[in-house]
Every structure is written in structure tokens, then in C-alpha cells.
């Protein structure tokens, strides 16, 4: 019997969330959950924000990586998840003219689903703060803040990041 029940349970999870998530981390106020194993995702790009002295590595789940490496990012495909890992900056200890990541600030994500996230341009937004991964936002309205900030790049499917060139 066990063998029959397991696929049914899995199918149930697929209906709720089409990605595996970290069950030990609280969901964001809009219900989005922290993707599991996001720290092992492949690279899309990086950036260095001079304005708030932070450094970012932009990573993606398999759907996002496939799209980014094949130039299929406008629009990004359904199911793509983009992740941004953010650290405070510091001078590289042994190479003073380089800047490197210091303390971890947060991990933030965009989940693409045009049918599901109609109120925020087809993307679900979520962010988890600090090393203890506290969900960001007081209530589900927090995603309007994310959406507003991303609206200037509406013609890039609301995404600031350009995937890096790779051989």
C-alpha cells in the first residue's frame, strides 16, 4: 500500500506548489515558500550595488537556467524561479583593491506564473532575511512594494538582471 500512497501525496504537493521547499522555514506572508536547495542553484549573473554597498549573486532553478542560457528570457517561462543572494560588501582582506561579500543580508526570489500572480505582473515575490531566514513583509501587501520597484523594467518581463555571457 505504501507504494501507492506516496505518488498520491507527491501529486498533492504538486498542486499546491510546483517546487520543493524548505519546510523548516516560515513561508512569506503571501504564502510563497523558500525553495529547497536554492544554495545549489546555478549562476545567472552577479551585481554590486554601490548605492547600498551590497553584492549579489543571481541564481536560478533548472527552468530559469535553461531559459537564461538559451536567451529565452522575455518572457521567462512558467515555473522559472530567480534567486538573488545578497551580502554586505567589504574590502577583500588580501587584495585591498577588490570588494568581496561580508555578512549575509537576505535571499529573495521571483516565481514566474502568469496565471497565478496576475496582481504582480506574472511574478510572485518573496524574501527571507538574514541567517535565520525570517520572512519579509507584515502582510501579503508587501509584494506590491516589490512589484512597484520592478515596474520600470516591465518590457524586460520585470527582471533587472541580464544573464552573463558564457562561452
Amino acid at each position: 500500500m505504501k507504494k501507492r500512497i506516496l505518488p498520491l501525496i507527491s501529486a498533492g504537493f504538486l498542486l499546491i506548489n510546483s517546487y520543493a521547499f524548505a519546510a523548516d522555514v516560515k513561508p512569506a506572508p503571501n504564502g510563497l515558500q523558500l525553495p529547497e536547495n536554492y544554495k545549489d542553484w546555478k549562476i545567472i549573473s552577479q551585481s554590486h550595488r554601490i548605492d547600498n554597498k551590497t553584492m549579489r549573486i543571481i541564481i536560478g532553478n533548472e527552468k530559469a537556467i535553461e531559459a537564461s542560457r538559451n536567451g529565452k528570457t522575455n518572457p521567462w517561462p512558467k515555473g522559472a524561479i530567480l534567486g538573488k543572494l545578497v551580502w554586505k560588501q567589504k574590502a577583500e582582506e588580501n587584495w585591498p583593491t577588490a570588494i568581496a561579500p561580508d555578512k549575509f543580508v537576505h535571499a529573495e526570489f521571483m516565481f514566474k506564473d502568469s496565471e497565478k500572480y496576475t496582481e504582480t505582473g506574472g511574478w510572485g515575490y518573496a524574501r527571507w532575511l538574514g541567517m535565520d531566514q525570517k520572512p519579509y513583509g507584515k502582510n501579503k501587501q508587501f509584494s506590491q512594494e516589490c512589484f512597484a520597484c520592478h515596474t520600470p523594467v516591465k518590457d524586460r518581463d520585470y527582471v533587472f538582471t541580464t544573464p552573463v555571457s558564457l562561452p
Copy 2:
């Protein structure tokens, strides 16, 4: 018979190189070959070199990732490979106070094997330039240049990069 021959051939390859490599890219002058699928490796850190206006993502093979995520990096374990992907910098088009990667410059690697790379501190060095991945260096002496530059961080097992903090 076929079934018996294949493991022997594989064992032979393992004696030459203990990693899968991109056979269509020329080896470095010291014989090191470009690791296959390095673009899919997981992240270790990033940096922004103000001195030569380049940005880097530092990645690693599975051995390196396991070590970096468990703080076992002094020394790094045998078989660890560190990769550095380097791009010229540019202002982020839609966020002018951010700096983002522009043209791809090169991919460079450090291969850890204390018994093999005795002349260069236990690491083999190699670099492939540009989108056409041309091996760097006129002859095998080029690695002395890499080694000299890394010698100031001898007490960090010759590695400048500190793995990022992650939750």
C-alpha cells in the same frame, strides 16, 4: 568483452585526469584540461576588482563545494577544483548605481593535488581566455606566474577567496 574493456578504459582516464574535461577545448600548456560543465558548478563567492574593473563569480566542483560549505578549506581537499569566471564591468542599464558583468574575459581554475603539483604549492593552475577559450600561457612556465601571485596567501592554502556566509 565490451563490458570488460570499458571499465579498464575508464580507469585509464582516471589515472591521467580525475575529472571530466571538455575535449573540444585545447589544454593549458601544463597539460591541464578545461573541466566539463564548470558553468553548472555551485557558488563559493564573488568579487569586484576595482583595480582592473572586472567582476568575478567563484565556483567549485563538488569536492570544493563540500569543503567550502563545511569550513574545510585550510587545506582544501585533494581533488577540489576552484573556478573563477571573470567579466569586464559595466553600469547596470536599468539601475545606474549598480555594476554588472559585461564582456566575458576568461575562466581560470586551481586544481588541488599536493602530490602532483609540488612545484606550485599543491595547486595546478590554468586559464582559458575569452569566448573561444584559448589556453593562457606560452609554455608550462606560465604557472609560476600564477603561483607567485598567490604566494602572499600561502597561509590560506594559496587561495584568496573566502567562501560566502550562507544560511
